[in-house]
């Protein structure tokens, strides 16, 4: 078969176009559809260098607007995650905002996996920027340092008593607050009460006892059963063991970040974690923290560690025996876990900064803080924390949060996350590699990345 001249011309053109298109797309921002990695990628926090934020100077705060003159205007709020902020809270905000200012509030929910990319595109653009944006607290420092957010120093006084302190630090850059805490959550242990009583176990009070219990549960459960579901690459839970032993991921010495994974404290924590993985878990070595409740629901795990909202994913049949406790510390008490949660900020490019400030005032109003707490989201204002309830889940959440820690407050931390450095680090330890050797290697890598 020969192709006619015209057919051939058409084919050559098509092929040329595909070649170009192929390479063009394969370049910088190719993102077909992926989102496999997203869900857990974003809801965590950082900042641990104790910069004082209260000394921030009063600067030109967005001025207050009064009622009617704003009618007809619309501002946009981006909420992270499709369900993280319950719908009734969103509805309340929309109504209250309209009553208060006469303007319209449009809420858009951005999936965690798309948040950074879309923020990268929208925030620099005055025509498309959201006016107010929620962002995971590990993500915030990446943006405060490039001037993406409005200085909130002037507004702080009106927002009342807010925390946790680590979240404010995450939103602070060079002594200026750009993003404030929206809500916090914390990770704790969910357990099967029946499995504990069958094995004659009590709720452990030290990390050592916890390991013993988890290993005993695995042995009682038979082949494929996990005493604790502990996926190998689940670093967000894994770093609790580092923190518990007094170690850290990286620390700032002078103006340089230095990896701290190979410090004796960190190595002790990681070694204990490695033994726990080997002895108590049948989770895959490359498993991450998504959907940790699935094996629990299937009766294949006696415990799992997850943020507080995981409770609602446990099946009803299993919920009866579901209990919760905060991960115990090395010498009792509560281990410092990785703090989850979000910050909220006003875009520097917003064309409606006064209205955006009004929205912030509403978010920090007593009504809204009450609603957050009642829905199990840790309220920024500690006065309302008690409203989270007094059952064991609320207690576990509150005590875990008291000690929660964040990842290094480097504006380059996001690069560490997108390059899966921590996932691979924990994966290698789960694979049985020598802790000290791997830790030293990764420390070098961290120093490289965090110092930009």
């Amino acid at each position: 078969m020969k192709l006619s001249t015209m057919t051939r011309a058409a084919v050559v053109t098509t092929v040329a176009a595909t070649l170009l298109a192929g390479c063009g797309q394969g370049s910088t921002t190719d993102d077909p559809t992926d989102d496999a990695t997203d869900d857990a990628a974003a809801d965590e926090g950082e900042a641990d260098d104790g910069e004082a934020t209260d000394g921030a100077e009063e600067t030109d705060a967005p001025a207050e607007t009064g009622g009617e003159e704003a009618s007809g205007e619309t501002i946009t709020l981006w909420l992270a995650g499709e369900t993280d902020t319950p719908v009734e809270l969103e509805e309340w905000l929309v109504t209250a905002f309209n009553e208060e200012t006469g303007a319209t509030l449009e809420v858009q929910r951005i999936p965690w996996g798309e948040l950074l990319e879309r923020a990268n595109q929208a925030l620099p653009d005055p025509d498309n920027t959201p006016d107010v944006i929620e962002m995971g607290n590990t993500q915030v420092p990446t943006y405060t340092s490039v001037g993406a957010f409005e200085d909130l120093s002037g507004l702080l006084g009106e927002l009342g008593d807010i925390g946790p302190e680590g979240f404010i630090e995450a939103g602070t850059y060079e002594d200026t607050v750009y993003a404030v805490p929206y809500y916090w959550g914390s990770r704790y242990i969910f357990f099967d009460k029946a499995a504990f009583s069958d094995a004659g176990l009590e709720v452990p009070t030290t990390l050592e006892e916890f390991s013993t219990a988890a290993i005993a549960l695995r042995e009682a459960g038979g082949d494929g059963f996990s005493g604790l579901w502990l996926p190998g690459q689940d670093w967000r839970n894994g770093i609790s063991w580092i923190f518990a032993h007094g170690g850290d991921i990286a620390v700032k010495e002078g103006d340089q970040w230095v990896g701290a994974l190979s410090s004796p404290e960190s190595v002790a924590g990681l070694t204990q974690w490695q033994e726990l993985y080997a002895g108590a878990s049948t989770a895959p070595q490359d498993g991450k923290d998504a959907e940790a409740w699935v094996p629990f629901n299937n009766g294949e795990a006696a415990m799992f560690m997850a943020p507080s909202w995981a409770r609602w994913s446990v099946e009803e049949t299993r919920a009866e025996d579901l209990g919760a406790f905060a991960l115990p510390g090395v010498d009792g008490g509560v281990a410092p876990v990785f703090a989850g949660g979000s910050n909220i900020a006003i875009s520097a490019q917003s064309q409606h900064k006064e209205l955006a400030a009004d929205l912030m005032r509403l978010i920090f109003s007593d009504e809204y803080q009450t609603m957050l707490a009642e829905n199990g989201l840790g309220p920024a204002n500690p006065e309302f924390t008690a409203l989270m309830g007094d059952d064991e889940f609320a207690q576990a959440a509150i005590s875990a949060a008291e000690n929660a820690k964040l990842t290094p407050a480097s504006s380059e931390w996001a690069a560490v996350e997108t390059a899966s450095v921590m996932e691979e680090f924990f994966g290698r330890i789960a694979g049985g590699e020598d802790v000290a050797t791997v830790a030293a290697e990764v420390d070098t890598q961290l120093a490289d990345m965090l110092n930009g």
Binding site: M1, A9, T18, G24, S27, T29, D35, T37, E423
Partner: protein, 320 residues
């Protein structure tokens, strides 16, 4: 015009006669170029600007700060220098080339085989085969990937269960993604599965155009099946296969969605990056847009070099 030409297929390449050549040239004319205008316009608008921007960016220090308005710094060849001295980058290039070669070869062989089967098969099995292939071709990538992920799941996957129950060894909780080679095996199965229908349909369409009389004549002259394939069928469908081969090379070299998805599910990303995912991590992930642009341009050149032979062959066929 097409009918007339395709019907006049010579068994062996006939020497092109002078009148034949004249006739073609006359027909080419300027009119044909006008017809190319819309395609060129689309290319310029859709690809021209990004390409120019990318070339410029590859000579700049362009990160997140620049995205938020900081002026980019012109750093000449620094991005390229950093890139070409990066051992990880060369690892990625080599892996991508091997992956591309294996996948293209498998896809072409399996696709052409399916086409030959379709040609011989009775109606009902043929239609069943065609419909199944059309369905896997039409399936959205992420939906397909989700299904494959479930199949290969270490705890609940059908593949582990089947292999174990067939007595082929203990595959209980076998993790397919943790070893890079095994990761690429899974990726290859999926990529080939997704690409075969296109090759099969194109080759089948070409095969239906192979002149019956030539085959009959060959048979009478005592050509066996292999000889008929080698000397009659293959030369006839070669132009179509060349185009498909070229497209497959381009597609498999820039494979992204499948690898990115699998990396999200498991495995060790730094050991399983191919060109697409590496550039993505560099650019979108770490906001190293300058480096990512430089690498992407390198990939463009690489693709052109790899496909030059085929483009050349097509163009040569054009001017015969």
């Amino acid at each position: 015009m097409t009918d007339q030409e395709t019907a006049r297929v010579p068994l062996t390449p006939t020497p092109v006669t002078a009148p034949d050549r004249r006739r073609r040239r006359r027909r080419g004319g300027l009119g044909g170029y006008w017809l190319l205008l819309p395609a060129i316009a689309v290319l310029l608008i859709g690809e021209g600007y990004p390409l120019v921007r990318q070339v410029i960016m590859s000579f700049q220090e362009f990160g997140r700060a620049q995205q938020f308005g900081a002026p980019p710094e012109w750093i000449g060849l620094d991005n390229y220098r950093a890139l070409f001295t990066d051992s990880q980058m060369w690892g990625v290039v080599v892996r991508s080339l091997v992956f591309c070669a294996v996948n293209v070869a498998l896809t072409m062989v399996i696709g052409t085989t399916f086409a030959l089967i379709m040609l011989r098969a009775p109606r009902v099995p043929r239609v069943v085969l065609q419909v199944s292939m059309l369905l896997c071709w039409a399936m959205p990538v992420i939906a397909a990937m989700t299904a494959w992920q479930w199949l290969f799941d270490s705890r609940y996957g059908l593949i582990n269960w089947t292999l174990t129950n067939l007595g082929l060894g203990d595959f209980t909780r076998h993790n397919w993604l943790i070893e890079p080679l095994s990761f690429y095996l899974v990726a290859t199965v999926i990529v080939v599965w997704m690409s075969v229908p296109f090759v099969a349909f194109t080759a089948y369409a070409a095969l239906t155009q192979v002149p019956e009389d030539a085959l009959e004549a060959g048979q009478i002259d005592g050509a066996n099946a292999w000889q008929r394939w080698r000397f009659i069928i293959y030369p006839s469908i070669r132009p179509a296969l060349t185009i498909v081969l070229m497209l497959q090379i381009v597609w498999d070299l820039r494979v992204f969605a499948q690898i990115h998805y699998l990396q999200g599910v498991g495995g060790v990303p730094s050991e399983t990056h191919l060109l697409g995912t590496y550039i993505y991590t560099l650019g979108v992930g770490q906001s190293e847009y300058g480096m990512a642009s430089a690498f992407a341009l390198f990939v463009l050149v690489l693709t052109l070099v790899l496909t030059a032979r085929y483009v050349h062959a097509l163009l040569k066929a054009e001017t015969v």
